[in-house]
């Protein structure tokens, strides 16, 4: 199974990478220490990620799409991280709001406003679940796959979920319809009753030119590749 998908929306291809992919995050931070030794901390809103991925001993197909993207010959490219998608595809800052506290799988999180909307690109043929948490039993959101009819989701005993499989690559739109909902989650696979922090995947990326170390030239060509992908743009916007 591929661990990542890469490419323009609607034309993403598998990206198989060697084990040991590390995700670096960079959040701007500012620390202030007063003359009395009181520290306060100011953090930036988002933490853009950088991935360095590679694969040893592969043919030229591996880097085809990445090279084109690095040259700027493709529309905006996206990176779909399967591991993150199984946890939560919603950008972390859009999964909760600034309203009153809601128990989300035992975590105190703040409610988003009614009307809050999140869009997540999804891949064809895979099972996805949309879930959220709310104390009372009532409808809390609708989800819409592409231009299909929106499907309502209600909560029961604190949470609720709906699942779907899209026939083609689509944009999933989740619209919150109640004022006491928190813990928005879109994940690959069935809903397991848990909540995980959002990862904002897939996300827009900038690609640096793949580095190539030639290993073999016979009738086949084999190289070691390494490429750096940088998250760009504002999470949650397509």
């Amino acid at each position: 199974m591929a661990s990542h998908f890469f490419g323009p929306l609607g034309a993403m291809e598998r990206l198989t990478v060697s084990a040991g992919v590390s995700t670096e995050t960079s959040r701007s931070e500012s620390e202030f220490v007063s003359s009395g030794g009181v520290r306060s901390f100011l953090r930036g809103r988002a933490a853009p990620r950088t991935w360095t991925v590679g694969r040893q001993y592969r043919g030229p197909d591996w880097a085809r799409l990445l090279s084109l993207a690095a040259h700027g010959l493709l529309p905006q490219c996206w990176l779909y991280d399967v591991a993150s998608a199984r946890e939560n595809m919603v950008p972390a800052q859009l999964a909760a709001g600034t309203g009153f506290l809601v128990q989300v799988n035992g975590l105190p999180m703040r409610a988003v406003a009614s009307g809050h909307q999140v869009q997540v690109p999804v891949l064809a043929g895979r099972l996805y679940s949309v879930s959220a948490w709310q104390a009372s039993d009532q409808q809390m959101l609708t989800y819409q796959v592409g231009m299909d009819t929106p499907v309502p989701v209600s909560s029961f005993n604190g949470s609720g979920a709906g699942s779907f499989t899209a026939p083609v690559d689509s944009i999933l739109t989740v619209t919150v319809t109640s004022g006491s909902v928190s813990g928005l989650r879109v994940n690959e696979g069935p809903f397991d009753g848990a909540f995980h922090a959002g990862h904002g995947t897939p996300c827009k990326v900038a690609v640096q030119d793949p580095q190539r170390t030639l290993q073999l030239v016979t009738e086949q060509v084999r190289s070691d590749y390494q490429v750096t992908l940088m998250e760009v743009g504002k999470p949650g916007f397509i």
């Binding site: 202030f32 007063s34 003359s35 030794g37 306060s40 901390f41 100011l42 953090r43 949650g236 916007f237």
Partner: protein, 732 residues
């Protein structure tokens, strides 16, 4: 302190920084991206610096006069695709664009929770082909204030000894000319607009006479205090509209607006409508009487004897429409005079912003973008040239009245008078140990003056019975057959009304009284004398020192305005002339010969009475008798609400300092999502107002009680008294 928008997170030890946006006025670039609409840029690095400089502010006693121009810089990312540049096409083509607004938001670019950080104009924009960002220089948007303006006014005060205007009125005129309004602007359909913010002149309509008991301040806003009567005329009449809407801003016990026979008595919480024997009373909606309330009385069918009255406060209709049954028409169309008065009972009257409209104004959402305090220097007349650059004039007035003027982050034209600048209410607490990175200080011995000189211009009021000559013709004027000649003449000082013209041979008055003319059929004055009715001469003041004289011939023969000897004879007289006197200098401290470090302040003609001059002198002497410390540029735990001019309580747990301090500079710099804030503070001297507050708070009414207090607190030397005084400034 700025008010935070709804939903802004509370102050906390760990905070998430807001996003910073720059919104360009009527812009296509940068193109829309990621939730940021076209014409708005999300900023990368940015900075804004604001500082308040003002004469006799602590730390700036000898500095230049007082205002703030904010400057800043910003960068934003080049959009995806084709770069923005001056060479690109369509919406990618950068032009030098005018105005922009910098704001912080926790709810995105399009969200409602905006905290403004300044209105700017773009100074140079720079980029490079390989650069990922565009760099902008920002300069405060005060273009309107830098335009030349001319303020015209007439003296309307009918009692010679009274002071008609306050310099804050001139500031209001400057602000209005640049688009900053304390009271709503004139619109089409406005018959009369009397702002009454320190002056009696009408913006629409014409003030014909005024008696001012004194200007008052209500929570920092200026209005007409008790004892005032301003009469204005609507020049073109009512024109028979279906409704007349009378709006007034009232506080305290309000004031009265009288339209012909209809009396509208705006009180604190109700309006009393009187016409002949009919009296009706309508309460304002609850809450409208808190603070300065804008109340509107709409009169449907105002020229009938059964008008329908509606009273509004803000958007709320106060009551069911009231149909009055009157003996005659509610408003007499022939009577064009409208009076605004605060000279009748009860006490505590306050009214301003009186407007009479024929169309209903839907400007309930009007929020003033000017806040101008009463300067406290009453004037008989404004003598300084009222032409020039608005901003320069505003600075001069601020300097002469020891106040300060600036345009705030939210784009509010602000003038603070000297007492609110130094003795205003504390709006924030700053504990150095918790909020300041350090507590640096500077004391400058150059701030101390051993002699203070202050010069001002007292006025000379010349009062007579139509016998003060203000202008005389120096050459013979020829008036052709049936011709009208208009002369515009400059007179000295300020004159409210010229005396009527009479021919010199008219003996109804003494020869030295009234404006006079003589005429002859020949230039040398020989021959038969014309009839009194052959020439009609009228005069009026077009501005305070400009008179217009019209000579209209009623004969078919050429006339010459000369006397029997052929000397020019056209004399303009008045009953009341106010002239600037010789400048006076008052001083305190050491004698001129022994003073080492004298300080002189020139208030020009913006101070005209000795009482104000003495109080200014005492003020400056107090400020400069010892050097006050300033806290220069110190990094603080950032809070975007802070503004220059804020008065804070500065405490330091380490040294035991408790003092009032004025924020004199705010410097913000941000990069990649976080930002830092540096502030300058000026420590404030105690004012008598502070002292009063303290005495009240401690229930001290007698000297004996004060003695007991001092003994109990070991205050037995002057030094100890000074130290105690400095500390308690912060404890109020």
């Amino acid at each position: 302190m700025q008010a935070l928008p709804q939903g802004w997170p509370d102050d906390a030890d760990v905070e998430t920084a807001p996003e910073l946006f720059l919104e360009f006025a009527s812009a296509a670039w940068p193109p829309a991206s990621d939730g940021v609409p076209a014409g708005t840029a999300e900023l990368g690095s940015w900075s804004v610096d604001r500082s308040l400089t003002g004469s006799s502010l602590p730390g700036q006693v000898r500095g230049a006069a007082g205002f703030s121009i904010a400057t800043g810089s910003a960068t934003f990312a080049q959009p995806l695709g084709e770069q923005l540049s001056p060479f690109a096409k369509g919406d990618r083509r950068l032009g030098a664009r005018g105005a922009c607004v910098l704001y912080a938001s926790h709810t995105g670019a399009a969200g409602s929770g905006r905290l403004p950080l300044g209105k700017f104009v773009l100074a140079p924009i720079a980029g490079a082909g390989l650069s990922a960002d565009v760099a902008l220089d920002l300069e405060e948007n005060s273009i309107n204030l830098k335009r030349p303006i001319a303020i015209r006014w007439r003296r309307n005060e009918v009692i010679a000894s009274r002071f008609e205007i306050d310099p804050s009125w001139v500031l209001d005129k400057i602000a209005r000319s640049a688009g900053y309004f304390q009271t709503p602007n004139v619109r089409s359909g406005t018959l009369l607009s009397l702002p009454l913010v320190g002056g009696t002149m009408a913006e629409a309509g014409e003030t014909t006479s005024a008696t001012i008991g004194g200007w008052s301040e209500h929570a920092g806003d200026v209005g007409m205090g008790p004892g005032g009567l301003v009469i204005a005329e609507i020049p073109d009449g009512y024109g028979g509209p279906a409704a007349i809407h009378v709006t007034a801003e009232v506080a305290g016990t309000g004031g009265e607006v009288v339209l012909a026979g209809l009396w509208l008595n705006f009180r604190g919480d109700h309006v009393i409508i009187t016409h002949g024997m009919v009296v009706q009373q309508i309460m304002y909606p609850a809450g409208a009487n808190l603070g300065l309330a804008r109340i509107r009385v709409s009169i449907q069918d105002p020229f009938s004897s059964a008008p329908t009255i509606r009273v509004y406060s803000s958007e709320t209709l106060a009551s069911e429409p009231l149909v009055m049954s009157l003996a005659s028409a509610a408003i007499d169309t022939a009577n064009r005079a409208i009076a605004v008065r605060t000279d009748r009972a009860p006490t505590g009257r306050f009214i301003r912003g009186v407007m009479v409209d024929t169309t209903f104004r839907d400007d309930w959402a009007f929020t003033p973008n000017a806040k101008i305090n009463l300067s406290g220097s009453p004037l008989h007349a404004a003598f300084d040239a009222l032409t020039g650059f608005g901003w320069d004039m505003a600075q001069k007035i601020a300097a002469a009245t020891l106040g300060a003027v600036w345009v705030s982050e939210s784009g509010v034209f602000t003038y603070r008078n000297r007492s609110s600048l130094r003795g205003g209410d504390i709006v924030d607490e700053v504990e150095a140990l918790d909020k300041l990175e350090d507590l640096p200080w500077v004391i400058d011995p150059g701030e101390i003056a051993d002699r203070v000189e202050l010069s001002y211009t007292p006025t000379q009021v010349v009062q007579s019975v139509n016998s003060t000559t203000i202008w005389e013709a120096t050459e013979a004027i020829r008036i052709g057959p049936r011709q009208t000649i208009t002369l515009v003449v400059e007179v000295a000082g300020a004159v409210n009304a010229p005396s009527a013209f009479r021919p010199v041979w008219d003996e109804t008055y003494e020869p030295h009284q009234m404006s006079r003319w003589a005429a002859a059929f020949s230039a040398d004055g020989s021959g038969e004398r014309p009839q009194s009715s052959d020439l009609v001469v009228t005069a009026r003041m077009v501005s305070v020192s400009t008179a217009e004289i019209r000579l209209t011939s009623r004969t078919d023969v050429t006339l010459w305005a000369v006397d029997g000897n052929g000397s020019p004879c056209l004399i303009l007289r008045t009953s009341l002339q106010v002239l600037p006197g010789e400048p006076l200098t008052i001083s305190s401290g050491l004698a001129e010969s022994t003073a080492l470090n004298p300080l002189s302040i020139d208030c020009g003609s913006w101070v005209q009475d000795s009482e104000t001059a003495q109080s200014l002198l005492a003020w400056v002497t107090g400020q400069t008798s010892h050097a006050q410390a300033v806290v220069p540029s110190v990094r603080v735990k950032p809070e975007l609400r802070r503004q220059i001019g804020d008065i804070v309580r500065l405490t330091d747990g380490k040294s035991g300092l408790i003092t009032k301090a004025l924020i004199t500079a705010v410097s913000l710099a941000g990069n990649g999502g976080t930002y830092t804030q540096h502030l300058d503070f000026a420590l404030l001297d105690l004012t008598w107002a502070d002292y009063d507050k303290w005495l009240q708070a401690h229930g001290i009414d007698t000297f004996a009680q004060l003695d007991t207090y001092m003994q109990a607190h070991n205050i037995d030397t002057f030094d100890a008294f000074d130290e105690w005084g400095r500390d308690f400034g912060g404890t109020l």
